[in-house]
């Protein structure tokens, strides 16, 4: 590696509830566009539900938000922000690209495997190839990292960042990075909010795919009864059932499968658009989030106590089914409001 000088871009580090919406919000605020994390989440219609079994995996996964990268793309499309994105097959060139951007005073976001972010305590870290962070400087052999889960600006060895950017395996980030190159000073945020709400309602209610949106929640409710027969043994079943809790609460979801963050977005939208009915919807979404949290605890208790009686699965299935009903009603009502916005 060529010798590079130390430098720090004056980037305001903040903690956020979720890495992608937080990273995008951090970059836009740095570029002079004041926007909150829930607003990024809502405008990009980040809320979703998917129950999906990839052919390569032995067990289905549940996903409670849109797919990685879509928050950045959604904001780009609806606010007119232009992001430059790149992937580098060659690791050295991937690192040089970061150094070159830092030399120009540009903070740059990277997608990494969370496990190698060793400034965070070991109990927080797991292999997860969809973590986002922002590189804002360098010091000796380290990069300075703004990570929304870290209380302060962190230092990360170049070698750890390289491992994180090129971990191999499924969904390898392959050195993916992005940064804004054009940020409008006065975008039409009100219009973007309306479009974001309409798109979220469409995704939850009308996507013609059996495993997405409300259909996905119903499929989850039905299929969970088959899980005991799909698992190799009780250890495996325990692991999979407890993953429900992890996906709803621990994977940077902002709690309750992103429903609380969406509720905050609706409250902010209500204030901005002067529409009190959106505040009422925000309060309803908080209650929906509470019920996801109850499902999460129910699943966690089952997994932890290895309590796999059929009755327990039936109870869990019933709770998920009622959640599908609640979200269907919620998004139907939100869609009606959205038509009048």
């Amino acid at each position: 590696m060529n010798k590079v000088n130390d430098l720090v871009i004056p980037f305001k580090h903040r903690m956020f509830a979720h890495c992608e919406s937080g990273t995008v919000a951090g970059l836009l605020n740095h570029a002079g566009l004041e926007i909150s994390e829930p607003m990024v989440f809502g405008i990009s219609s980040g809320i979703l539900f998917a129950y999906y079994k990839p052919p390569a995996l032995p067990f289905p996964m549940i996903v409670v938000r849109n797919f990685p990268g879509q928050m950045m793309r959604g904001v780009s499309r609806r606010l007119g922000v232009k992001f430059k994105t790149a992937r580098y097959k060659n690791q050295a060139r991937g690192e040089q690209a970061i150094d070159a951007l830092l030399d120009k005073g540009i903070p740059v976001a990277c997608r990494v495997d969370f496990f190698y972010m060793d400034y965070l305590p070991p109990y927080m870290r797991a292999h997860f190839n969809f973590h986002f962070l922002t590189i804002v400087g360098r010091k000796g052999s380290k990069f300075l990292v703004s990570d929304c889960y870290s209380t302060e600006l962190a230092e990360l060895e170049r070698d750890s960042l390289r491992k994180g950017r090129y971990p191999g395996g499924s969904f390898d980030p392959k050195g993916f990075l992005f940064y804004p190159v054009r940020v409008p000073t006065d975008p039409d945020i009100d219009r973007a909010i309306k479009k974001g709400i309409r798109a979220a309602c469409f995704n939850m209610l009308r996507l013609p795919v059996p495993f997405l949106g409300i259909r996905g929640i119903r499929l989850f409710s039905k299929k969970i009864m088959d899980w005991p027969g799909m698992a190799r043994n009780d250890d495996h079943l325990s692991h999979e059932v407890m993953k429900i809790n992890i996906l709803l609460e621990d994977q940077g979801t902002g709690g309750a499968g992103y429903r609380f963050m969406y509720a905050t977005f609706l409250r902010q939208a209500s204030e901005r658009l002067g529409r009190p009915e959106l505040k009422e919807m925000s309060e309803r979404m908080m209650l929906v989030g509470d019920d996801w949290r109850r499902i999460s605890i129910h699943a966690a208790r089952m997994g932890k106590n290895r309590d796999f009686a059929e009755e327990k699965f039936r109870e869990l299935s019933g709770k998920i089914s009622r959640q599908a009903d609640a979200e269907e009603l919620f998004f139907t009502d939100l869609a009606k409001i959205a038509r009048t916005l």
Binding site: M242, T253, R301
Partner: protein, 92 residues
């Protein structure tokens, strides 16, 4: 109305935690106010216990902790929980 962090509030929180997690062999007096609840030498709680506490606090005091980053700091000790509850109740 300003709500203060009092000994009684901390006692109430300790009882709530022990009851909601069903830990009968520990008494509220065994829990130090500033000890980390997640360390093994203290209560040795895990993240699922943390979530149960979050729900119990919500049900008792009507305060919602809506993100896990925030929960990490609030649930550090009895003192930090009591400070959070007092602050939230003062807003009402």
């Amino acid at each position: 109305m300003e709500v203060q962090v009092t000994k009684e509030l901390k006692q109430e929180i300790k009882v709530l935690i022990l009851e909601s997690l069903n830990i009968p062999d520990v008494t509220p007096e065994d829990i130090e106010d500033d000890a980390s609840l997640f360390e093994d030498e203290n209560l040795g709680l895990d993240s699922i216990d943390g979530l149960e506490i979050v729900m119990a606090l919500q049900e008792k005091y009507g305060v919602r902790i809506d993100d896990q980053n925030q929960a990490r700091f609030i649930l550090k000790s009895i003192n930090t929980i009591a400070e959070f509850i007092a602050k939230e109740l003062s807003k009402k």
